[in-house]
């Protein structure tokens, strides 16, 4: 390993980077776009469910029910409709995702202790959204029922009684259950893959396409010097992007990392190493920028997004896919990110994921050495 040679290669790579508009765009614009897009647009939270109401009862109680529903953070009454037929139109067009129908004589039935059903319709085309909304409305109705009961008992002069079981629910690590709190850190994993793997997947393929690989082979450059020199500019760009993502997460989305900053830098560096090695490996093997780019999307970007526990929970996947997630580096990085961002964990808890990332990194470096030796470096 000769530092002067590494420096010469790194500097050359830096010139390629700053003179190639597409690379710069991929290096800085795409990460910014992803942060904004994921941060603002990708929300798995259910709130302000658009609700239309048909109130046939028109009693103080039904109005009270509707008012309380509207006041809750989860539902928003967008329209009062005159009859049940109108609901179809609203659900069909997606103007509302929930419809509430209060039948005639509802209050009277309640007072007379008869069955007093309430019809609620959902647009189930987004099952996740509909499922969560259903949970919220069920809880809302139970709450409403209980209040009614307590009022009734109080009126009858009975002592206020409490139900025998009361669950005191507290959510740890992400108290408000905001999906943003785990999506924003997760974007860092995606950004590192894009900058690390997709950018570097082009760099050796470009040498083959331009015929300069022959020059490289004729020069006294070792595989290690070549790899490190190639990786250095992208390593710093990747790290810069990570810092930008941490900063923007904090300023724009109020997602603050709870644990040590340096543990974060360490984890990002190792994961960046994994991404860079993957990209360079793809580049040497494919020798074509177009193919390399496709491969990089297929083997680095998509698994990081889909098979890493980022947005899609691994526990819900078929067993075979669950096994695949064990070799997806992003799985371990997302685990570390969750630990650092949400749980305020340190090395005592996170070392297994750090270790696995390191092992993956080493394996990839060895693979790179093997293919480059075969290419005559």
């Amino acid at each position: 390993m000769n530092p002067r040679k590494i420096q010469a290669i790194a500097r050359k790579e830096f010139y390629h980077l700053i003179r190639d508009f597409r690379s710069l765009y991929l290096a800085f614009f795409i990460p910014l776009l992803l942060i904004l897009l994921f941060g603002y647009a990708l929300s798995l939270d259910v709130e302000n469910v658009k609700t239309v109401v048909v109130d046939h009862d028109k009693s103080p109680l039904s109005r009270d029910f509707i008012r309380k529903l509207d006041a809750s953070a989860y539902f928003r009454i967008t329209k009062h409709l005159p009859n049940t037929e109108a609901i179809t139109k609203y659900l069909d067009h997606g103007w509302a995702t929930m419809a509430l129908i209060i039948p005639p004589g509802w209050t009277k039935d309640i007072k007379a202790d008869r069955e007093s059903p309430l019809q609620i319709l959902f647009d189930g085309s987004d099952p996740n959204f509909a499922g969560l909304s259903r949970g919220y409305i069920t809880a809302f109705i139970e709450d409403f029922n209980r209040n009614q009961l307590i009022q009734f008992l109080n009126r009858k002069g009975m002592e206020r009684i409490n139900p025998p079981i009361e669950g005191r629910i507290r959510v740890w690590f992400n108290e408000d259950l905001e999906s943003r709190n785990f999506i924003v850190p997760g974007i860092i994993a995606i950004i590192i893959m894009i900058v690390g793997a997709m950018l570097t997947s082009l760099v050796i393929a470009r040498e083959y396409e331009n015929g300069t690989m022959e020059t490289i082979r004729s020069l006294p450059i070792r595989a290690g010097e070549f790899l490190i020199g190639k990786a250095i500019p992208y390593f710093f760009i990747g790290l810069t992007d990570v810092l930008i993502a941490i900063f923007m997460g904090q300023v724009l989305f109020g997602v603050v990392m709870k644990s040590s900053f340096w543990l974060m830098v360490l984890a990002s560096s190792i994961y960046l190493g994994v991404a860079l090695s993957l990209g360079l490996f793809i580049s040497v093997v494919t020798k074509s920028q177009l193919v390399a780019n496709q491969m990089a999307i297929l083997f680095t970007y998509l698994p990081s997004l889909l098979l890493s526990n980022f947005v899609f929970p691994v526990v819900n996947m078929p067993i075979i896919l669950q096994k695949v997630t064990y070799v997806v580096p992003a799985t371990y990085f997302i685990d570390i990110l969750n630990g650092l961002y949400l749980r305020n964990l340190g090395m005592t808890h996170l070392w297994p994921s750090y270790l696995v990332l390191n092992i993956i990194f080493l394996v990839l470096v060895i693979m790179n050495f093997v293919v480059l030796k075969r290419e005559g470096l």
Partner: protein, 251 residues
């Protein structure tokens, strides 16, 4: 297997196989210090494969060879430091300026930094690229790019210069200048090993080897080869010799 001290390139029974295809078939020759040595043959004859073996880019399948005193099987890296290599595409980095290209070569050849300034000046002078040092290489005409590639290949003062079809795609005036410069280098003791398929260029060589289908067809000074083949025809030139030899060796 004794190579004489003055032989800077010495090759014995050198063979390269790609799978079942024999690209270079047991060739032997030697090149003396300061000599301009030509390697001639039609496309696909094995010229490039030979030169790439000698430069340590690919490992031979069999045989023996030394370049600048180093074994071509085991000391490829030392050979790469000792020689300069320029291929037909003069593969420079076109999105970099001549200055940046030169600096890249200085770095990878591990030239000590005190010498950088002098070497850069020397190459820019030699290539007449002083005014172009901050233009991108892709904007330069082919002849200029060729000079730059040559300058880069010489930046570490190699003892031997390997040129793989160095003048393809270059205009005749630039070719003339190029050969004048090559002769000047040889006079300073730099050994030149050049492949070409321009017969008029081969006349610049002190000795040549003609190969076809990976085998040596003939070897010797160009004028001797022509005279031996056409004793009755004083007007015959290397072109005639080449065509006659290639036809004979192919059948």
């Amino acid at each position: 297997m004794i190579d004489s001290v003055s032989d800077v390139v010495y090759v014995k029974d050198l063979t390269k196989r790609f799978g079942r295809f024999v690209a270079v078939d047991s060739i032997s020759f030697s090149v003396k210090k300061g000599e301009i040595y030509g390697f001639l043959g039609p496309n696909g004859a094995g010229k490039s494969t030979t030169i790439r073996m000698l430069c340590g880019i690919i490992t031979p399948s069999a045989g023996y060879g030394r370049v600048a005193g180093y074994d071509i099987f085991t000391e490829a890296e030392k050979i790469k430091h000792a020689i300069g290599y320029m291929s037909q595409k003069f593969s420079l980095y076109e999105d970099m300026t001549p200055f940046e290209n030169i600096r890249f070569y200085l770095g990878v050849y591990d030239v000590s930094s005190q010498e950088w300034k002098d070497r850069i000046e020397w190459v820019l002078e030699m290539t007449h690229l002083k005014d172009m040092r901050n233009r991108l290489t892709r904007e330069l005409p082919p002849g200029w790019r060729q000079r730059l590639a040559l300058g880069c290949a010489l930046i570490h003062r190699p003892k031997i210069l390997f040129l793989d079809e160095p003048t393809s795609g270059v205009d005749p005036i630039s070719r003339r200048h190029f050969w004048d410069f090559i002769k000047h280098l040889a006079s300073e003791g730099v050994t030149i090993f050049v492949t070409t398929h321009y017969m008029d260029e081969a006349d610049n060589c002190e000795r040549i080897v003609m190969i076809n289908d990976g085998k040596i067809v003939t070897t010797g000074p160009p004028s001797v080869i022509v005279r031996d083949l056409f004793p009755e025809r004083p007007e015959a030139d290397l072109n005639d010799a080449f065509i006659k030899l290639m036809a004979r060796s192919s059948t």
